[in-house]
Amino acid sequence: MLFPTSGFLLFFLLVAALMAALETRFTAKKAVLVVASYYFYAQWDWRFCFLLAFSTGLSFVGGLLIANTSQRDRQRWILGISVAVHLALLGTFKYLDFFVLSANQLANLLGLQHELPFIEVLLPVGISFFTFHGISYLTDVFRGDVGVTRNPLDMALYMSFFPQLVAGPIVRAAYFLPQLQREQREPIPLAPALLLILGGLFKKTIIANYLATGLVDPVFSAPTEYSAPDLLLAAYGYAVQIYCDFSAYSDMAIALAALVGFRFPANFNQPYRSQRLREFWQRWHISLSSWLRDYLYKPLGGNRNGRLATYRNLMITMLLGGIWHGAGWKFVAWGAMHGGGLAIERMLEPLIGRRARSPAAKLIATLVVFHFVCLAWIFFRAEDFEVARLFIAGLGHGWAEGVQQAKPFTVALIAIGLAGQFTPPGLFARVAEGLMRVPVWGLGATAGIIVAAIQALGPEGIAPFIYFRF
């Protein structure tokens, strides 16, 4: 069940009706949200609900065992075992065939005849996200950043809450669980939520979908058949497509959570305006990058043990961040590029400073970071290394051939997507404040008309969100 579909609208109408009917009964509301979330998840494959329930039970019991033990060493063991089980589940469903393939390739290289069989297990949607939720909870309980939850309903809702279940944002236990303990009783921010939903629909339905079908997919499927300008525009196009696709999902998740009374953290903040790669990671998929920082980079030692150790920790963190995205060497390469880029940027900091100062320097820094990110996206998007190599090689010649695939329409979509990165930071708040003055019926009618317009403007059908497969 995708957000921008009639099926989801019907589902949400039912949830909204139940939330309105149960206005003051917070426990009943949470129970309804858990049932709704499991129903939402079952729409992909009901069997995976058992996996989600197991992951929830593991986190719940692990948290209780940590809290009921006073010995630090024992707590560490419980944490280690619980996290290992979480990672084993993730590894089995997501990476087993990748490891088998890699082992078979290595065996071939070594001249061995025997090949391991593939398991061909179906990847459960959102497994990477709820696994990270579980690990976040256990680690926070161990560290004392969050108290243990003794209410299984709270744990179930934290792990399964439908807005973030399948593609994030990754919401920390320390951020979300306190919201479940006592109802926030704050007004529901209707206008900002509506703005996020409409903006998200526009980004996904118009920009991301048309860029995918009109430019990115054809060019990435056969890069040798296209000229260098097409390849360059397809690389820019993918940068805009993945941003519009993923940030649209995050925006809608944030809005849906707000409409049922919960707060979510920001997940994107105009990433392509970054002047440093480090800044890019403070603006792109913020919930993942801060998760990796707090649960991986810092425990590895962060920047506390000298420059070489810092570079190593950056590399390990980004490599694992790459693998988190998918089972494939291209994701490893993507992570390695970002890890290497972050390390090199730190090395050069004494020469270039932490921030560009003059307008020209800022412009150059932004262009350099954007093009580096686009280069890394080529590995991320390409089917495999060979396609990525052909794509990059194609950028070196054929500039006189002009564009074949990119039309003015797709170039305009790229321009609109990039222009959105440079709007004033307070614009969203100003528009939302303006909408706050509109009565509810006016907001509803306007939203209905805008959604109908977006539906009419968009292509037939809705492609799944890119991050569903992670």
Partner: protein, 112 residues
């Protein structure tokens, strides 16, 4: 106060999360109730059913040929027909035509 504190769960006590809310606090001061959320959703859905009646009918058609769905599919088709006869499908058609023309536009050099 002491009584209240003793009722507080343990997980309200530790350090608060430092992550920034996606919707800033100043936009949360004024807002709606769950009933207003429901009202907005219903009005939005109704408006959508009026101006995108064709999508509603085709969505129901895509759900398959179950006998339980047949009356709904029939009703949606009639609703779509009624909206079309009132001319309410025209804005969507105009937008589809507009976007199709935009997509068909080529570079001036290619058109020569």
């Amino acid at each position: 106060m002491v009584a209240l504190e003793s009722e507080l769960p343990s997980y309200l006590e530790p350090r608060p999360a430092t992550t920034a809310d996606a919707i800033p606090i100043r936009l949360r001061r004024v807002g709606a109730t769950p009933r207003q959320v429901l009202a907005l959703s219903l009005i939005g859905a109704l408006t959508l059913a009026v101006f995108a009646s064709h999508d509603l009918a085709s969505w129901l058609d895509r759900m398959g040929g179950s006998p339980a769905l047949a009356p709904l599919q029939h009703a949606a088709a009639r609703w779509d027909h009624a909206m079309a006869s009132l001319g309410l499908g025209r804005p969507a058609e105009a937008l589809r035509y507009f976007i199709q023309r935009l997509q068909d536009q080529d570079w001036p050099s290619a058109e020569k």
